[in-house]
């Protein structure tokens, strides 16, 4: 067997060069052909889906001066989500025309805050964050007031825009 030495004949060397470059070129093509779709698939979830409007209930269902926990279907829910496709929100009707819609997720680390109606406070069971009834920060570690969702009144319905899990850099 002759290896590439100075006296090997030119056609052999040419053939080896061709093979080498074919291997590199075809290899790169093959890697890209399989790799690009794989990376694309993995990065798929980075594509954002916008929150959607959904009906939280009839306006008259919410008594003035009260805060209520409302269970809804997450408008973004998909196949196989089961109960996880649900979403809970707090609806506060401050007066006849003023609503506040709070996320249940504590602004500290996302645990579910509880509304204690008699005390007029939201309390978080994880690290002791407390919020006033208007959602503003009362005490404990949360860095800000409760997340609020965009909402509007339409034909006697209360509509709320939601879907994503609110976090500090992506509030309601």
């Amino acid at each position: 067997m002759t290896h590439s030495t100075s006296n090997s004949n030119p056609p052999d060397e040419e053939r080896r060069g061709l093979l080498k470059w074919s291997a590199i070129l075809l290899g790169s093509l093959a890697t890209a052909a399989a790799g690009i779709p794989i990376v694309g698939f993995l990065l798929g979830p980075l594509r954002k889906r916008d929150d959607q409007w959904t009906t939280a209930g009839k306006v008259e269902d919410f008594p003035v001066g009260q805060t209520r926990l409302v269970d809804l279907q997450n408008p973004l829910h998909g196949l196989g989500d089961g109960d996880a496709g649900k979403i809970a929100i707090y609806v506060r009707r401050a007066d006849e025309a003023t609503f506040q819609i709070f996320a249940v997720n504590c602004t500290h680390l996302g645990c579910p805050v509880n509304w204690l109606a008699d005390a007029g406070l939201f309390m978080c069971p994880c690290h002791g964050g407390v919020f006033y009834e208007d959602g503003s920060h009362a005490s404990g570690p949360p860095p800000r007031g409760l997340y609020q969702y965009e909402h509007r009144l339409e034909k006697g319905d209360l509509l709320v825009k939601l879907g994503h899990l609110p976090t500090l850099q992506q509030p309601g």
Binding site: K48, R49, G80, G82, D83, L121, M123, H127, A138, L165
Partner: protein
């Protein structure tokens, strides 16, 4: 018998194990390992045994477990109550995971204290740190696969913390969740991580780790006054091995005994205590969940509650990275020199301080005194012996105290929340003016109740609080609030 030998010879002719595996099994190890000190060398094997147990029980569980948000909970219930031995597989998987994390820390501490990470075994240590990271990753993802309320809100907490990363936070959140919210995609991702990605990475690292253990040889028990010197170590170690004993069977027997004990203990714990959970249904509308992480992450849970707000994000996101970085730096900082713990006081102190810190934080995490006791206002009545001596106004105050959920943060005679001070004797340390101010304005960690109570309620409440003092002790005359606060209050008309 002859047939067995024939088969063996046929295999051996092709595999040539006598040339490859057998010398590895028989490789010499320091003779000292045959002495009682050899028991210090079993922890790595015990960790490995637990890993094997995890693989086998994990494969069993994966045959039944449904990694979708819709069915995961039901499949856990099915494992617990219907599948033959399903409960035991879940229990062994949980207790063996616990054993693996415990033994990993014991193994690391032993290697650190006996200076086994020093030259020429630095890389073995570095790969070991990678194994630690993978194991903790598996612990967290495994906890998520036990898809219940704790799991659901645990992901919520992890994502809330990850969401604080500057700039990239929202993208990281999306990537972890596989979408906009915790749903089926999220669970599938954690399943993939737990079952394919992390074990794959762990096995690769483990292969390198074991290769290095054999290639670099098991470290000899350290002797005080015999430091590691790069120039002479190899020669000394070779000399030591000349008088060494073969790894198989001498050292392996000790490993065998320890590993068998480990398995017996874990299976025993699994049989006695059973599987963990699943707890409450993972439903985002069941907001009365009080999520707690598995024990491995209680120190981090505590850190999130106890750190000052200004440093919180740094401690949550930075400390784990710094911790891993510090472990990776160990062999570069102290790669040579004394190996014996008797000559390394700083090393001993580091281990002690680390373990004490982790245990205190873990204890705080388990008891979480900073969390309000959410049911105390209705579940923990004002103790009878207090109620008996109250006037009608004071009784009214006791009702206000319960209804306004003061009890969720303040204990009476030890029962109730512990976020604020126990108020059993508050009447003897705070005067009425200070109480009114504290209730109305809040302060410290207490919310202001000005909007939540009318003046009659405040009056009743304070008259009740004043009554809370030991028999025969007069009410406090001097407020206990700090002087500067008082001055500030007086200055404002």
């Amino acid at each position: 018998m002859n047939t067995i030998k024939q088969i063996w010879d046929w295999l051996e002719h092709r595999l040539e194990l006598r040339d490859s595996l057998w010398p590895v099994m028989r490789h010499p190890v320091p003779a000292a390992l045959a002495k009682p000190v050899g028991w210090w060398y079993v922890f790595g094997s015990m960790t490995l045994t637990f890993l094997m147990l995890q693989i086998v029980t994990g494969i069993c569980l994966a045959m039944v477990y449904q990694p979708t948000a819709e069915d995961a909970y039901a499949s856990l219930e099915y494992l617990n109550y219907e599948a033959p031995f399903g409960w035991l597989m879940r229990a062994i998987h949980y207790w063996s995971a616990t054993g693996m994390v415990v033994m990993l820390f014991v193994h690391m501490s032993q290697v650190f204290l006996m200076g086994a990470f020093k030259y020429p075994r630095e890389l073995t240590w570095l790969v070991g740190v990678g194994l630690l990271a993978m194991t903790l990753g598996l612990a967290f993802t495994g906890q998520v696969l036990r898809y219940d309320g704790d799991s659901y809100w645990g992901v919520s907490v992890a994502v809330a913390a990850a969401g604080r990363v500057p700039w990239l936070g929202p993208s990281i959140v999306h990537f972890i969740l596989g979408g906009e919210y915790i749903g089926s995609e999220t669970l599938s991702r954690f399943f993939t991580l737990h079952v394919f990605i992390l074990p794959g990475l762990l096995f690769s690292l483990l292969a390198v780790h074991l290769y290095l253990v054999v290639k670099r040889g098991i470290s000899e028990p350290p002797t005080p006054g015999e430091p590691v010197d790069k120039a002479t170590y190899h020669e000394q170690y070779e000399q030591l091995l000349e008088k060494g004993i073969p790894f198989f069977p001498h050292a392996l027997y000790r490993d065998g005994v320890a590993c068998a004990m480990a398995v017996l203990i874990v299976v025993g714990l699994a049989v006695v205590f059973g599987p963990k959970g699943p707890g409450e249904i993972p439903d985002p509308t069941l907001i009365h969940a009080e999520p707690r992480p598995d024990w491995y992450f209680l120190p981090i849970f505590a850190l999130a509650a106890l750190s000052p707000p200004s440093m919180e994000t740094f401690l949550m996101l930075g400390l784990p990275v710094i911790g891993l970085g510090a472990l990776l730096a160990v062999p570069f900082v102290a790669g040579t020199g004394e190996r014996s713990a008797r000559r390394r006081p700083v090393a001993v102190l580091t281990v002690l301080v680390s373990f004490v810190t982790l245990m205190i934080l873990g204890w705080y995490g388990a008891t979480s005194p900073w969390s309000p006791d959410m049911q105390a206002w209705s579940d923990a009545p004002v103790p009878e012996n207090i109620v008996q001596k109250l006037t009608p106004l004071e009784l009214q105050g006791a009702i206000v105290f319960q209804n306004k959920c003061c009890r969720n943060c303040h204990a009476l005679e030890g029962s109730g929340g512990h976020r604020g001070p126990d108020l059993t004797d508050v009447g003897s340390r705070m005067n009425p003016d200070a109480m009114v101010r504290q209730v109305v304005q809040g302060g410290g960690n207490m919310p202001a109740y000005a909007q939540q109570m009318n003046s009659a309620e405040v009056e009743a409440l304070v008259s009740f609080l004043v009554k809370l003092r030991p028999e025969g002790m007069p009410p406090a005359a001097v407020p206990s609030a700090p002087a500067e606060t008082l001055a500030a209050v007086k200055a404002t008309p």
